[in-house]
Structures are given as C-alpha cells and as structure tokens.
C-alpha cells in the first residue's frame, strides 16, 4: 500500500512517533530529572550533603529533613540529589565504551566472517557463560578500583554482548545486494563496514546501548554496594545503601530513598529503551 503514499522523511516520521509515545516521554522525564540533579548537585540540594550533624543523627523524615538524616546526621535528600552524579558519569561512559568497542568488533566479525569470526564468537560465548559480576569483581580486584577502572571493566565486559547483537545485524546486511555493489565498485573492507553497513546497524546498536545502560546502572550500584565500585566520600546511592542496610528495621529512610532513586533511574532508562525501539521500528 505504501507505493502511492506521499514520501515523508524518515527522521520526521520517527519524531512524530516519538512525540506520541508516552513511554518515551515518561522515561525521558525521569532521566532528565536525574540528569539535572547530577549536573547541578550541591547547588540545588537544600543542605550541605557532606555536613555532619551529630546532634541530629538518624532523624526521621520531617519538614527540616524531608528524607530524614543518616548515621552522621547528614541530610538524606541532599545526599540523594548529589549522589546521582557519579553513577550518571560512570554507567553511561562504561556503556558507551562497550557500545563503541562492541559495534566495531561486531562489524568486523560479522562482515569478515571466516576463522576470525569462529574464534571470536566462541570467546564471546565463553564470556557470556560467566557471571559478569564475578568477572568484573576479579578484574577490579586485580587492577584496583576507581571510577576509571570501573568504566573500563564494565565497558570491556559489555563489549562481547553488544558485539554479538551487532554481528547478527551485520550478517543480515552483508547478504543485501548493496554490499555486493560496493565490492564491485572496489571499496575496501573498512569502507564497506563503516560507510555502507554501519549506518544501517546503528539503530540496533543504539537500542542495545540503552538496554545495556539500564544494566550498567544496576551493575555500578551493585559494585558500589559491595565496595568495588564508586568509592566514598561520594554520596553514591549504592554506598549509602551499603552503609545503612543493617539499620533498615528501625531507620527505613536511610535506605529507602537511595534504593528508590536507583530503581527509578533504571526504570526511566528502560522506559526510554522501549520507546526508542518502537521509534526505530517505524
């Protein structure tokens, strides 16, 4: 039926779908909120997130401290706002690194095939069989933990996962005639991979990236919780949960708001992922 329909540019049509997708809008709203918190941090926090007040430790939520205070009497609302920063730097950077490396690797093995593909694909399968947290823990224990090493380790751990998805898409593209046409024109493998095929698999890589971002946030929070992720004195949510979870029975507010913040961020990212995939399907 589409033969006679007046052509509309793809970008424009996608924008229309995006604007009508309530999942995407809701997800973006949540994400924007946390990004604003991460960017402005201490400037919008009602109180100094790092200031102890030993006279008001473990105070329940009240008009003075909306989310209560922690063991050192620090304002939890302020700490939750400021705590968005590190995770929103580390997780996206790690995902980006994994996506870039994974896309390049997927393009190479998917287009070149042969022995390279056989070997790399087996390695990828082997990596996937291991629990990723354990792999990351061992790597971090070996190289020492810092925001940079967390980014690198999670990036490398994600690379094979993304490579696998991209490879599958590249296999489909490689069978299309435009690739043969490029070969007949004399284009080299690099040009065919990065100029011809890459733009067509990019939507898949981008959707995969947002899926991974949700995992990455969870991953970073888990690592921080067990002490191998973001390090104190950061007001990171994972650290806060680790410091206070033993108090959860009597002082629920010390854990609940940080946990809720982590959860809402993951949910926000997942909503965006769902919205994006429906946009790219058009």
């Amino acid at each position: 039926m589409s033969a006679g329909i007046a052509p509309v540019s793809l970008a424009r049509e996608r924008l229309n779908v995006a604007l009508r997708s309530s999942t995407l809008i809701a997800g973006l709203a949540i994400l924007t909120f946390w990004i604003v918190c991460a960017l402005l941090g201490a400037r919008i926090a009602p109180q100094d997130p790092y200031a102890d007040n030993l006279l008001a430790t473990l105070a329940p939520p009240s008009p003075a401290h909306w989310f209560g205070t922690d063991q050192l009497g620090r304002d939890i609302l302020s700490r939750v706002i400021v705590g968005a920063r590190d995770i929103l730097i580390v997780a996206p950077l790690a995902t980006l690194l994994g996506t870039v490396l994974g896309t390049c690797l997927g393009l190479c093995i998917g287009y070149l095939r042969g022995a390279l593909d056989d070997v790399v694909s087996r390695v990828i399968e082997a990596v996937q069989a291991l629990p990723l947290v354990i792999v990351a823990l061992m790597a971090l224990a070996a190289v020492g933990t810092s925001n940079t090493t967390v980014v690198l380790v999670i990036g490398f751990v994600f690379t094979p996962l993304i490579a696998r998805t991209v490879r599958a898409a590249v296999l489909v593209e490689s069978d299309l005639d435009y690739v043969a046409a490029a070969q007949l024109r004399g284009d080299g493998a690099l040009a065919i991979m990065f100029i011809e095929i890459l733009p067509n698999v990019l939507p898949i890589a981008v959707v995969e990236m947002t899926v991974r971002l949700g995992y990455a946030i969870f991953f970073v929070a888990s690592l921080s919780f067990i002490g191998f992720g973001i390090q104190p004195p950061s007001a990171d949510w994972g650290i806060a949960i680790a410091e206070n979870y033993s108090l959860i029975g009597s002082y629920w507010w010390t854990v609940l708001f940080d946990a809720g913040a982590t959860a809402s961020l993951v949910i926000g990212v997942n909503l965006v992922t769902d919205g994006m995939s429906s946009v790219f399907e058009t």
Partner: protein, 697 residues
C-alpha cells in the same frame, strides 16, 4: 454451510461487494485505498481482479474475509459472503465462515506453511477444526485431498516438512488445504507469482481442473494479464482503488474499453517482439496517492485520451451492455495514442568519451575477439559432505554491444553464473574468464579498478540493491568517485547520468525509501553505468516491477545500449522479455548449457526439448487456450544429479537408454546455434511444430 441456504430458492452469490470503502490509518491521516467497489461473483464463476501493485487488489481480498491489517477499516458498504453480511457476524460466526465457506491461497507458499510442522499435521488440522474429525480420520482425508491435487505418493508428502518440498509442491499442498472444506469461495492472491513458468503452467492447469470439479467460485488476484485471461470467466480491472473496467474476460481483453486496460495490455512485450522493432509502450506518470484524487477521473493524469471534462468530474461506471467501464469515452479507449517515454536528452549522449579517460574498459573496433569469454566455467559447492554443481563447464562468448539472454528455471544456475562473472563467488579450478582478451582474476577483490568498472550488475531487487541510509546523490556519487571523478566534474557527470536514466535533480537528494520500485531500479542502473562499463549483468532487473514500469526500464536499457555500445548478460525467467532484449539466448538447466544460439533460432526452432517446454509454458494474451507441453515431475535434486543427460528425467522426447548413460555434446544446429541433445537437430526442427499441435487435446 448446511443451515443457511435452505431458506432461499436460489443459492446466494458466493461474494457480493456493495459500495465498499476501505481506509488505512497512517499516522494521523486516513487514506482511502478502495472506494465504492462493487463486484459480484456468482456461483461457480471465476473472477479475475487485475491491476498493478498499490491498486488495492489484496486489500479487496482481505476485506472479503474481514481480515484487514490492524490499521485498516471498512468505512462504508457491505460485503456478503455466501449471502451473509460479513460485518454483522459475531466472532464465532466469522470463524465458522472462515473455516467453512471461504478459503484463501497466498502468494508465497513457503510463508503460508508452518515450517516446524509436518504437512500431514497441518492438513489434518483443517479437518479437525472444520469437521471435528479425529486425528486418524483427518490424516486419511488429507491423503485423499493430496491425491486430488495430483500429488504422487501422498503418504511421503504427508510425512515431509515444508522445506523438503519444492515451491510448486508447497503451493499444491496449500491449494489442497484451501479446498479441503469445499468452500463456496476460493480466493487466490497471486498464487503463481513466485513460481517458475513451467510450474506456474502446471499449477494453473490444476486450478482450472479443480474449479471444474469442485464448482466453487474463485476470486483470482493477479498482476499477470495473460494468466487472468486464461483462468477467469469475468475480469475486473482495479486502478487506484477504483474498479475502472469489468466484463467477460474474453471481451475485456479483446476489446478493452478503458484506457488503463489498453495501456496495461500494450506494456506486455508481445510474443516475438524484438528490440529492433521499436520501443515498448509505457504508461507515463505515477499511480496517484490513495485518496488524493477527488472530483476527477483517477486515471486522468496518465491518460492520453483525457479531456477537460475528465479533469472536472469523476466518470461513473457506465454499463456498456454486459460490461462496465469508468470512462466518459469508452469507445475511444483503443485509439489511445501509443506512449513511450521521450528519448534521452542530448546532454547525455557521450558519457563514455567524456568521463573515462583511461579507456581500458570497452575497446571499440576489435570485433574479432569476443569482449567476454568463458571456458570451462564451473562452480561446485560442498553441501553437507556432498558436492553440488551449480554451474558446470559453461562456455559463453559475448561480443561488444551484444545482449545474451540467460533463461532457465530457478535452480538452473543463472544467478550463480552471474556471480562467477562478477567475481562475487570463486569458480572451480580450471575455469577461465577473459575480458577483452585478458584473463580476469576470479575474485572481484583481485581485479584492477578498470576491470571492476568494466563489469557491473543491475540487481533483481532494487530495495536490497541500494543502501537505504544513503541519498541517491551519494549512491551514484560513490561509484563516480571510484571512477576517478571529483568536485565539479563529478557533480556534472552525476547530473548527466541521472538525466540519462530519467531521474530529475529533485530525486538526487532523496533516499531509497522515498522512491518507487521503478525509480530505485533507475538509480541501480545509473550506478552500474557510472564507470562506463563494457558488460552489465542484468539479473532479473524487472521481475520485481509492474508491467508498465518494466517496459520503461527495458526501453531504458535498450537505449543505453544503443548509445554506449554496452553488452548485457540478461537473466530473466520471462521469455518474452528475454526475447525482446536479447541478440542471443542461452538456456541453462541444472547448471548446464542445454542450448545457445541467436534469439530468432532459439525461438523459432529447432529447439532443445526443454526450450520447447519453456516456450510452450508462456501464457499469452493472444492465444488464451495455448497448447502446452507438460514437463513431468520436478527439477531433480542438484545433490543427486541424473546420469547421462541431466534432463532425461523430465524429457518428453527421451530416446531411451542412451539418454540415461551418455551426456550429449552440444551439437551445432545452424549458424551460431548449438543444442545439447542426442536427437539430431534436423529432427528436433521437424518435430517441434507438429509436437505442439499433437498435445492440443
């Protein structure tokens, strides 16, 4: 089935569509794809619905079983199947109607069968659902149905999975399933479009026979006019969602009364027509967007007969005595001026000279040597330990400016041969490919830029051939850059090239998805011609296109050949098309050359028995009741080739043991004409004509 017809004296019409409007919701817009469609299919009648893609044929079919796409909606009118109003049925009644009164056969049999269920299971389901039979009884009925559709050894087929059957066999299974419940109405949506000509002929014959036997009504949807002419009692022509003409098939095709029908019929290359007889007719312009034409005739923009009145008011369907036409001037329809696009603008006439300074590609004035020459060209694939010869010792010579047509059923090795020539797959050792007297490296990767430029391809599927993320400018421009053009020179050449394939500058900034199939194919052609090639392989370049677009593309290819003296290897399953464009024709069967020779000799005979069968399978408008030579059986499994002559298992003229033991050599049969058969050429020539009439009973 049982309760309804008791009340009325006469059984109701199988399908009655009254003033049907169907709209599709696209984004926020609603597009009207069918408007005011009225048609009636009487009991036992076969009705053909024809038109090009996008005209609403399939929408009409899906509306008739109330199975429109999710964004589609019947916005007006009534549909009565077997006398029952489809829109008034409850879900349960609708389900019963679909199981008992109406069946549908789709275009692609492979996608209509569940790949993970055996045929027996799938067929038995029909009886279990429709008649409540047990599994054993259902299987028995399935076997009976299979023998009614002339499947030999139904037990074996019942135990097979769909992928183990050939396309023709799958389609027969589907037809058997559709007829299982003896429906009042059978809808066939392009049932033979994906099949080879010989198989198509066989399936059509089967449908015709079953129609007589079961006496159900048929709605036959096709873009192929000769097929409809052969199969149907009455025919309706759809254009842009409107029925523009309807009447008895014989009179509509003999004396069409609507200019669109006239145009469509003229687009089909007539049997025996050649490129030097002149250009093919086309229908200029494009199908209007659905619902965009209001208050005037839908065909007005493309009609050579249109007058002011056609632009002012929409013509009604006029009754012309037993037939209808939606035109103010039905009597003038056949005087429609012949239209073929204007010849190329002069700016493009000398691209080879201006653009390719090295001049290595097409050496003019060396007629002694063929431009492209293959000897011993073979390709063997290893499939699960067995070897499979896709191409076997093919020897072909191609002169400059010549077109070699390559014909054969699917699986005959046509496309494999094309890939070998282009270097996209590597031939077996001992194969030789020469271009302009020089041996060509086997792999495209190892060829020099000049050699690459010299050998190009136009692909079958324009959708897959163009990178969807690039604009037309970039698509063609990248090839020009390879040809050593930069900056202003490249832009100038780009515009010339685009103009020579009739793309306007506006198209240059569009992406493939914004172009129609025909325009995409033009971009593909422009890309192939970017480096002033010596040989262009055209791999079924028009099989994905509508007939009116096909004729425009064929005209373009012929014109480019006249201008640039390029050679074509033209692959097609449509023999009329091959005959139109080709100077010489090669017939392939299971990777072997069975016959090669000048077009005229191959068509007029003596022919190889296989060529003879292919020729007789061509459906034609002129002679609807063609006498046919039927090929028995299916293409043999390529993994297990027949001994001796590969064709002996299906050959209607098999001599005897010699055919099974010894592979015949290519015997000369006239000038430049050779046939691979044990029967002497003289005898083939004598018997071919009488043979055709022998079978007329």
């Amino acid at each position: 089935m049982s309760a309804a017809p008791a009340a009325s004296l006469e059984r109701p019409d199988a399908l009655r569509i009254e003033h049907l409007d169907v709209v599709y919701r696209i984004g926020v817009r609603e597009l009207r794809v069918l408007s005011d469609l009225c048609l009636t299919i009487r009991r036992g009648e076969s009705y053909g619905l024809v038109g090009e893609s996008g005209c609403g044929k399939s929408t009409a079919a899906f509306a008739a079983i109330r199975y429109l796409a999710r964004n589609g909606r019947v916005s007006g009118g009534r549909i009565l199947v077997d006398g029952r109003d489809l829109m008034a049925l409850s879900p349960g009644e609708l389900r019963r109607l679909r199981t008992q009164s109406v069946s549908m056969v789709y275009q692609d049999p492979a996608r209509a069968l569940n790949p993970s269920l055996r045929i027996g299971r799938q067929m038995a389901e029909v009886f279990e659902a429709a008649e409540g039979l047990g599994p054993a009884a259902s299987l028995e009925r399935a076997a009976q149905m299979l023998s009614r559709v002339q499947i030999a050894g139904p037990e074996r087929v019942l135990k097979s999975y769909p992928h183990e059957l050939s396309g023709g066999m799958q389609q027969r299974v589907i037809i058997a399933m559709a007829l299982s419940t003896n429906p009042a109405l059978l809808i066939l949506d392009e049932p033979t479009t994906g099949l080879d000509a010989t198989v198509e002929a066989e399936v059509l014959e089967l449908i015709g026979r079953l129609h007589a036997e079961f006496d159900n009504s048929i709605l036959f949807i096709s873009h192929n006019l000769p097929v409809v002419a052969r199969m149907c009692d009455r025919v309706g022509v759809l254009y842009a969602g409107e029925l523009v003409e309807e009447g008895p098939a014989a009179s509509v095709f003999r004396e069409p009364r609507h200019p669109y029908t006239v145009g469509l019929m003229r687009c089909i290359p007539a049997f025996g027509r050649r490129k030097n007889h002149g250009r093919l007719s086309t229908i200029p312009g494009f199908l209007p967007a659905p619902g965009s034409v209001v208050g005037r005739c839908v065909f007005e923009g493309r009609c050579g007969n249109a007058t002011e009145r056609c632009a002012r008011e929409a013509p009604p369907l006029v009754d012309l005595g037993g037939r209808l036409a939606r035109c103010f001037y039905p009597e003038r329809a056949q005087d429609l001026p012949r239209q073929s696009e204007t010849p190329a603008p002069p700016a493009t006439s000398a691209p080879a000279g201006t653009s390719a300074p090295p001049g290595t590609s097409a050496p003019p004035g060396t007629p002694a040597r063929p431009l492209l020459r293959t000897r011993n060209l073979s390709k063997t694939y290893q499939v699960s330990g067995k070897s499979f010869q896709a191409v076997h010792q093919v020897a072909i010579d191609l002169d400059a400016g010549e077109t070699l047509g390559l014909v054969g059923e699917s699986g005959s090795g046509k496309s494999s041969l094309a890939k070998l020539l282009l270097g996209l797959s590597v031939p077996d050792g001992g194969s030789e490919i020469e271009f302009a007297g020089e041996a060509l490296p086997a792999r495209a990767h190892d060829r020099t830029p000049a050699q690459l430029k010299a050998l190009q391809i136009v692909f079958q599927n324009p959708g897959s051939a163009l990178n969807r993320s690039q604009t037309v400018r970039r698509l063609i421009g990248r090839s020009l850059r390879r040809a050593g053009l930069f900056g202003r020179a490249r832009e100038t050449r780009l515009r010339e090239l685009a103009a020579s394939v009739r793309l306007t500058p506006r198209h240059l900034d569009e992406k493939p998805r914004q172009l129609s199939g025909g325009l995409k194919q033009r971009v593909g052609i422009a890309r192939a011609f970017a480096g002033a090639p010596g040989v262009v392989v055209c791999d079924e370049p028009t099989s994905a296109l509508d007939v009116s677009v096909q004729s425009a593309i064929l005209n373009l290819l012929v014109e480019l050949q006249n201008e640039q003296h390029v050679s074509y290897v033209f692959i097609s399953h449509d023999l009329n098309v091959v005959h139109y464009v080709s100077d010489r024709i090669a017939v392939l069967y299971l990777g072997r050359l069975l016959e090669i020779g000048p077009s005229e000799s191959v068509f007029s005979g003596p022919h190889h028995p296989y060529t003879e069968a292919l020729l007789s399978a061509i459906p034609s408008l002129e002679d609807a009741a063609v006498k046919r030579i039927r090929l028995t059986g299916e293409l043999p499994n390529a993994l297990n080739l027949p001994s001796g002559c590969v064709f002996h298992t299906r050959c209607p003229r098999k001599l005897g043991e010699i055919c099974e033991r010894q592979e015949p050599p290519l015997h000369p049969a006239g000038e430049g004409h050779a046939i691979r058969c044990h029967i002497p050429a003289a005898e083939l020539g004598q018997r071919s004509s009488s043979r055709v009439s022998d079978r007329s009973s």
